[in-house]
């Protein structure tokens, strides 16, 4: 048997073991293809069923030492977790917009075009092979819209629950310095955001006391894992997961470096994210 020492050490002590919906709820949740973020957000909110205000066990601790999402607003830990996720998605969506502008020869301040077809690769491929540059640009183009959709979904979900979504940093976000005007350099700057996003969701999910919210978060989590995998490989890296600085494992002795995703504590994620804040 294993002990989740790391998770347990951080786990909320007043976690209530709510019995959520049984098999009946699952049928409705399955195969939600081609729908609006609003419809799904309303679905999450309805399944959450008033728990946001009534869920005393999920109340944010007034003690800063046991506040798992420091500085993140929310009436309870579940709303905090969603706002934590939104904090990252706001950042990711905006940096993808900037990266896509850079790769397409658009002005840095240009808003995301109404359709992905508005972008064409206008910079050299860099270290990416000629045969892979079209796919690599497609990743940048499509993932930019996917991250914007994640952002909008979280805003809608938090509002549907009666909460207040966090706002984007008023001064905006900045890509790391030293990016060269080529596709591999631009994707290399985006990759740490995706990899950190994966670790952020896995680190946040243990604090969520509502499995509907956990499920919604996990749906975004594994999408970011997919993004990370293919960006890694067009850049010539292994698809992962691979251990990076500060990574924590969900088991004390991982069976291999590439068998399980890693996580980071929310406070660590927020510190790293702040480096991209203007």
């Amino acid at each position: 048997m294993f002990e989740l020492d790391q998770i347990r050490r951080d786990a909320p002590t007043r976690r209530r073991f709510m019995k959520l919906m049984g098999a009946a709820g699952i049928g409705a949740a399955a195969m939600r293809l081609v729908e609006t973020p609003e419809a799904y957000a309303a679905d999450v909110a309805s399944r959450y069923a008033g728990g946001a205000s009534a869920d005393a066990a999920a109340t944010v601790s007034p003690d800063a030492k046991t506040n798992h999402f420091p500085g993140i607003p929310g009436r309870n830990v579940n709303e905090q977790a969603l706002n934590f996720a939104l904090t990252l998605e706001l950042l990711e969506a905006d940096l993808y917009r900037q990266a896509l502008n850079a790769a397409s020869g658009h002005s840095n301040s240009a808003p995301l075009s109404t359709a992905p077809t508005g972008y064409r690769l206008k910079v050299p491929a860099g270290s990416i092979g000629a045969g892979a540059s079209a796919d690599a640009f497609d990743y940048l183009r499509i993932f930019a819209y996917v991250e914007a959709t994640h952002r909008d979904f979280l805003i809608t979900t938090i509002k549907s629950m009666g909460g207040t979504p966090v706002k984007a940093n008023p001064r905006g976000y900045k890509l790391p310095p030293g990016i060269k005007p080529n596709l591999s350099s631009i994707l290399g700057a985006i990759l740490p955001l995706e990899e950190t996003g994966v670790r952020a969701y896995l680190g946040a999910i243990p604090f969520v006391t509502n499995n509907t919210i956990a499920q919604a978060a996990a749906e975004i989590f594994s999408t970011e894992a997919r993004h990370s995998a293919v960006i890694n490989t067009v850049l010539g890296n292994d698809a992962g997961p691979h251990k990076m600085a500060g990574d924590q494992s969900v088991v004390p002795k991982p069976p291999a470096d590439n068998a399980l995703e890693y996580f980071l504590a929310p406070s660590v994620v927020l510190e790293r994210a702040s480096a991209f804040f203007k």
Partner: protein
Amino acid sequence: MNPQKTTSSSRRTFLGGAAALAAASVIPASKAFAVSPALTYSDIPGTGDVKVVNYALALEQLEADFYHQCVLRLTTGGTNYLGTTIPGLNLDPSTHEDVRYMIRFGEVERLHRNLLTSVLGNKAIGAFKYQFGIESKSRQQIIQMAADVEATGVSAYLGAIPFFSSGSQYLPVAGAIQGTEARHTAQLFALLNQIFDVPLNVAPKPYQNHGADSPLGPNQVLAAVSQYIVTT
């Protein structure tokens, strides 16, 4: 952990529950060897979190054996645990990136299976034997099937989350596996695109489930995979 280890009596015990159910079979008539009617979540042994982890283990057992058979087919050939001869396509891993990935992903799935088996100890579900028809599949069909199996794994982990107790200690482990299978899924679809010019489909599009992976309930997943599970 070796699928051959499973005794027929443990399979019968496990399948006893399935036989009692009146669910309609989803098994094509041509696959008379498959378990019928399809397994459902009620057939998975245990209760609460143990049942959910056993469900995950059943899928990892299937994935591990699937990759085992795929790698036999792609490389030197061999025999699956049912005694079916699998002729090798004799592809050299050193010159075929997809074969290298298949070998590596297969190792990872075995590690997932072993991890969940050790988590459950004596409560672990017994292994089945599986017939995937690998012996007659092409290289492209195998990579496509692997991509589909991994994608089903991702959706299965998502669909299992509501069955865990709230704040379950197993949830982060399940998530860590789910994310890994998502990486496998994306990479396999990227390989299909690079090698066979299959349309690029590495991750959900913005209009699919708000740009995020979709859950599949246990009964849907078990209905889909039961066609590969052999009863006799």
